[in-house]
Amino acid sequence: MKLLDFLRGERKKSASVAKERLQIIVAHQRGQRDQPDYMPMLERELLEVIRRYVKVEQDAINISLDRDDDCSVLELNVTLPRS
């Protein structure tokens, strides 16, 4: 937000909110673009298994597949609640 707008106490224009939201969702979509079709299912099932042991939220799990030339790395990040 420009300083002047800030001083005037104007709210953020809706178009710039739209832009920010789109940048995030498009980046996410592009991350999933080259992933194999089984990834969403794998993510759901992994979440199920983890939930058998720990209580985590739906968005506490983040899974991604990075492909290099000769091997792929499946990365799994789970944010566990403070115990």
């Binding site: 809706s14 739209a18 498009v26």
Partner: protein
């Protein structure tokens, strides 16, 4: 060899059919032998926009199923020489359109035509995927609005993976962004995504910008593609778009907000 161009978007109602009709008309007016094909099986509309709805006898599915020949099904445009329309079927059977059938038709047309324009149905299902599968280039129609931009990005994903060019590891489908229903005054007011933001988010080359225009409804009412209305902003903007598709460099128009001066306010000038 014809160039196959799909007009696609993901989201419905953004201006695909309007654009397919306008672009096909523009290409033919420039002397290119052009056929525009309606892939929206079950929801035929291109015939209305092209003004040939009463001359439809056979359709795309009839040709695929061998009930009619291509030349029987194709309708010759009344206004422009070198322009043909291949209407969609009104059947509710979506499986009537087969990949082999479409390929056969395109192979037959590619010998005789310079451009084949495919008007895609909305969505990302079979119909939309078939419309894009054989394409050399894609015109991705996008409105300055969040859901349209997001859906366009989904379509870009499909274009880079689910097309013949992608599957055969050939040069990728050439992607062009066509922004339609752009309203410079709302952009100026900060309530509509601006041109640069959309280009930045989707990161593909801009082939044209069509302003929100009263001329478009007028054109569809009459069944005369808006390209024929060269007094209108939208008609001129589509002509510019066609020039760029043909490789020419044309400056962008109709994207800047013109604050109305006293004179034009009094005389009601400005956009028509």
């Amino acid at each position: 060899m014809a160039k196959i161009i799909v007009v696609t978007s993901g989201k419905g109602g953004v201006g695909k059919t309007t654009s397919a009709a306008a672009i096909a008309t523009g290409l033919a007016l420039r002397g290119n032998k052009t056929v525009v094909i309606d892939f929206d099986v079950g929801l035929r509309n291109l015939d209305l926009i092209m003004g040939c709805e009463r001359r439809v006898v056979y359709d795309l599915v009839n040709v695929i199923q061998g009930d009619a020949g291509l030349n029987q099904a194709m309708i010759r445009d009344k206004r422009v020489e070198n322009l043909h329309i291949l209407p969609a079927s009104q059947t509710r059977d979506k499986d009537a359109l087969t990949s082999e059938g479409v390929e056969k038709i395109l192979d037959a047309l590619t010998e005789d035509f310079d451009f084949i324009i495919c008007d895609s149905p909305a969505g990302i299902e079979r119909g939309a995927q078939l419309a894009m599968y054989f394409a050399d280039e894609a015109v991705v129609v996008t409105n300055p609005e969040v859901s349209s931009v997001r859906d366009s990005d989904r379509i870009l994903g499909l274009l880079s993976s689910k097309t013949r060019r992608a599957e055969q590891n050939r040069d990728p489908v050439k992607e062009h962004l066509l922004i339609t229903r752009y309203n410079p005054s709302r952009v100026d007011g900060g309530d509509m995504l601006n041109l640069d933001d959309i280009c930045e988010i989707l990161a593909i080359d801009l082939i044209g910008l069509i302003p929100e225009s009263e001329a478009v409804l007028r054109a569809s009412n009459q069944g005369i593609p808006v390209t024929h209305d060269q007094k209108s902003d939208a008609g001129q903007a589509y002509t510019d778009t066609v020039s760029r598709l043909l490789g020419e460099t044309v400056p962008l128009r109709f994207h800047e907000y013109q604050k109305k001066g006293l004179l034009s306010r009094v005389f009601g000038g400005g956009r028509r």
